[in-house]
Symmetry: D4
Subunit: 159 residues, 8 copies
Amino acid sequence: MYGWDVYLSGEIHTDWRERIEAGADEAGLDITFSAPVTDHEASDDCGVAILGQEDKPFWKDHKGAKLNAIRTRTLIEQADVVVVRFGDKYKQWNAAFDAGYAAALGKPLIVLHPQEHTHALKEVDAAALAVAETPEQVVEILRYVIAGELPGRARAAAE
Amino acid sequence: MYGWDVYLSGEIHTDWRERIEAGADEAGLDITFSAPVTDHEASDDCGVAILGQEDKPFWKDHKGAKLNAIRTRTLIEQADVVVVRFGDKYKQWNAAFDAGYAAALGKPLIVLHPQEHTHALKEVDAAALAVAETPEQVVEILRYVIAGELPGRARAAAE
Amino acid sequence: MYGWDVYLSGEIHTDWRERIEAGADEAGLDITFSAPVTDHEASDDCGVAILGQEDKPFWKDHKGAKLNAIRTRTLIEQADVVVVRFGDKYKQWNAAFDAGYAAALGKPLIVLHPQEHTHALKEVDAAALAVAETPEQVVEILRYVIAGELPGRARAAAE
Amino acid sequence: MYGWDVYLSGEIHTDWRERIEAGADEAGLDITFSAPVTDHEASDDCGVAILGQEDKPFWKDHKGAKLNAIRTRTLIEQADVVVVRFGDKYKQWNAAFDAGYAAALGKPLIVLHPQEHTHALKEVDAAALAVAETPEQVVEILRYVIAGELPGRARAAAE
Amino acid sequence: MYGWDVYLSGEIHTDWRERIEAGADEAGLDITFSAPVTDHEASDDCGVAILGQEDKPFWKDHKGAKLNAIRTRTLIEQADVVVVRFGDKYKQWNAAFDAGYAAALGKPLIVLHPQEHTHALKEVDAAALAVAETPEQVVEILRYVIAGELPGRARAAAE
Amino acid sequence: MYGWDVYLSGEIHTDWRERIEAGADEAGLDITFSAPVTDHEASDDCGVAILGQEDKPFWKDHKGAKLNAIRTRTLIEQADVVVVRFGDKYKQWNAAFDAGYAAALGKPLIVLHPQEHTHALKEVDAAALAVAETPEQVVEILRYVIAGELPGRARAAAE
Amino acid sequence: MYGWDVYLSGEIHTDWRERIEAGADEAGLDITFSAPVTDHEASDDCGVAILGQEDKPFWKDHKGAKLNAIRTRTLIEQADVVVVRFGDKYKQWNAAFDAGYAAALGKPLIVLHPQEHTHALKEVDAAALAVAETPEQVVEILRYVIAGELPGRARAAAE
Amino acid sequence: MYGWDVYLSGEIHTDWRERIEAGADEAGLDITFSAPVTDHEASDDCGVAILGQEDKPFWKDHKGAKLNAIRTRTLIEQADVVVVRFGDKYKQWNAAFDAGYAAALGKPLIVLHPQEHTHALKEVDAAALAVAETPEQVVEILRYVIAGELPGRARAAAE
């Protein structure tokens, strides 16, 4: 079995990425995780910090968002699996954008969100191969998909 | 010049589609517009209405969203240009999903939203070839792109 | 709205294709239906009838199946939507093959089969955007997807 | 010569995978084999075991089949060669689905089945580059294709 | 049924194209045939006739072959089916090149050649969905594939 | 023979497009020509004229160039053949950009430029299927490619 | 984080490549840089030096440019990010061609040029995800994109 | 610089492959060469030797050619550069087929043949980025393309 590349898109204000990475590590899975830059301030400022100030907020955002796109598109295209997390707050349109982008590329999509978003996210969920509510479920999915192991069972498949 | 196919994605509670279609018609542009099913209730109920009731809201949404996807993905893939509108209300994750989907397919993208969403939509705007605030601007863009005409000028280009 | 191309794959011993075509016609939908050659004997014999007899059944089948593939692959690739029907009898591996072929091409897939096949067809159903049990449901799906109309409701959407 | 990736799809109730892997190993071939999760029960239960119980068998199957699809599609897309085995029993529609999926992606396809299935599998065989009856023949094919060696001959080709 | 595009590649010294076109016409098939420029002298001279003389035969050939490629590649890519004819004489490497080009694009390929070329053309035949010996067989294939009709049988399939 | 789509990219200060279109018309060729907006001022101003003024020249250019890209990319992707003209003046980087864009899409490319640019355009010419010096040569190329006719010869090929 | 491949296209008369490579090295970034052959004379002469003299300058250039294309297209297609530099002198149409080629392949594009070229390069800049004026800015972009670090800030993101 | 994959297609009766491999080795180039099975007898017999005898020569050839296709298509698709050699004898249609296949995939193509075949191979040469007459020229091309070195010059480019 070769190593899998998993991209973790979306919400950046809780520790869901760390929990998935720790769980995968504990399960001994050979996964390389990648993600957007998760430092909110850096992500907002990168365009003007590197390429020069802008008077209008629109162009500041534009320059920054494009720099971030160099990273995110490259990593999504390289990923075997894309996980998109929607949290409790904010518009999170970039998360839904990433989900659409990954879906159009044919990437297997796992969506992670609290149950209360079910109706609002129904189009995103409809494009996914799994809809989870906790990071631990995502770890279990990755463990099953990569190693063939289910919770509470012995290793199901050598590979 | 051949006829253009333009898909109008997103918000379904105002008359922005009608305003674009009427403006394009008035400008004499040869455009075939398409859109998702814009009857909100039909769009929500279609899955269970046709394929049978579900106890859980998740599966009701799932069946419906997948039927809608037959339409939306087919029309987006067929479109020459995709316009995505974000309104004042609701999560509108399906609009952002469509934008990501269209971007990954390499479709020219026009985003239409009020200025107050600039920061929250910066990743979507960064993938667009135009960001407009009014349906009338979208008409002007289509008129220029298809017919080479600018507001307040005589016809600029034969095509 | 442009005309849709819908390919009807699978079982050839009942009148499900006729029922879908009649229903779509009655609903006034602009659909061009296509299908494999549904004359079982012709489909089996075409290879040797045109290109010369074979001693071994394998090569007779091989020559015939390849001629049929000229038709089926061309029409599947041209289709906007692929409907695959599994009936009560026979192995029907060609139907499942077509479903896989269409799925890999990213074609919206509608699967039509009796409930008793649910478990055996779970991988095929998982790749579909709709799973129906009757030809009439397929007509309703096409009517909703193309015309925005639901059973028992007035026309829901202009398109 | 680089290492080859070979995906072994289909029947999970006999030891055909082990025989191919052992034969390839004995022949000194540099092949990484992959496969679906071959623990039947785990494969059936994975969806509800990880993501929560379902009342309807359809949704239990649906959730499980989609998790399995994360694995199978990723591995098929990564494979250089796809081998699909049809056994004596069961519907095996997932095997035919995988064959169609691989064919549409342009993957070289080897089909492995008993002679009695020749007629029923003619469309699948017609898409294949080899049709074998025993796992040992598959090993010989891989040995020839990768190392240029034929049974009963000295090494035929350096590579 | 929509009209089919069939490209007729290869040998230009016999009337095989006319026989196929006449046969298809007689059978009432809706086919648009295309072909390379079949005037041998024009095909050889076109480069220097339009773009200026060359001293070296290599560059004369090069300029001409590239002009012809504008036509042949465009028409092959547009074709639903590609027929490649190998005759009795000449190297005919351009025919084999077209066959490889069409195969890599996934176009259904019909090869037409006398039996004596079977061994020399085995790689080309292996990529084809039909290998015929006479133009009349090609007409029968097209009639079956498009109209579902076999020789000596009533119309087999509506389409 | 179906109608061809030909995109005419590049220099906008001489009448080369008109000469090609007139020549093709005179030759009775069924070609739909397309082009960028050739009104220089409109092309420069379109972004700010429709979407609002900018203080910085960079953003004025940026908004305009993106609107133009909606047109040019759509038409290049739709074209069967792309002609790129380099004139005597200006940087003309957009022409070279279009040539690279068309080449990567696999579009047959005809480059039209005065001999003095041969060395500077060698990479562009190397990607082309024809390099012409006059619009009349482009007409002759199109006449030969589409109708099989050479200057000073009777019609060479039916098609 | 895996290693990134970055292609450095364009101007070959200043040390901008060395400055980017040194800066990336200093920042500890795992990047494999590639570039065209930057020895101007070798790049001009390679065709005739290897494949034989030509009388006409056009064919000397043609043979050389095609050899260079073997290298440049392979490396651009392999790159994760393409940087294109426009300097003060020369036509630099090959740089613009590379930019168009990379854009059509969907490669993230960084353009590097002095401010005075802003208007002439507006179409190229419009296709880019970043427009820089100094090699040091390109280093900062790569550092941010790959390592999540901004100038004057501590490391922003683990990856 | 990463290692290059070069596929050597075509003639199998002279030592041209060995001369290229030895030359590349001497030049210190990091190239992985691949090729079809070059044992003529094994290549002819492989199908029946592994999968069982056939009465008709056509099917013997067919089975063998398909096994060879598993190898050749996989290696061509994996190659960065494809070299196709035409020798003095035989039809060599498989070489021309490989050239067409590689061209349609967009692979850089180097054709190697004696001058006397120039006219007969003009369509193949027109699709190539280099046409050489000796294996040593192919080595020089690879050395220049990969290492930037020309004969009789010091190393021209670091890479």
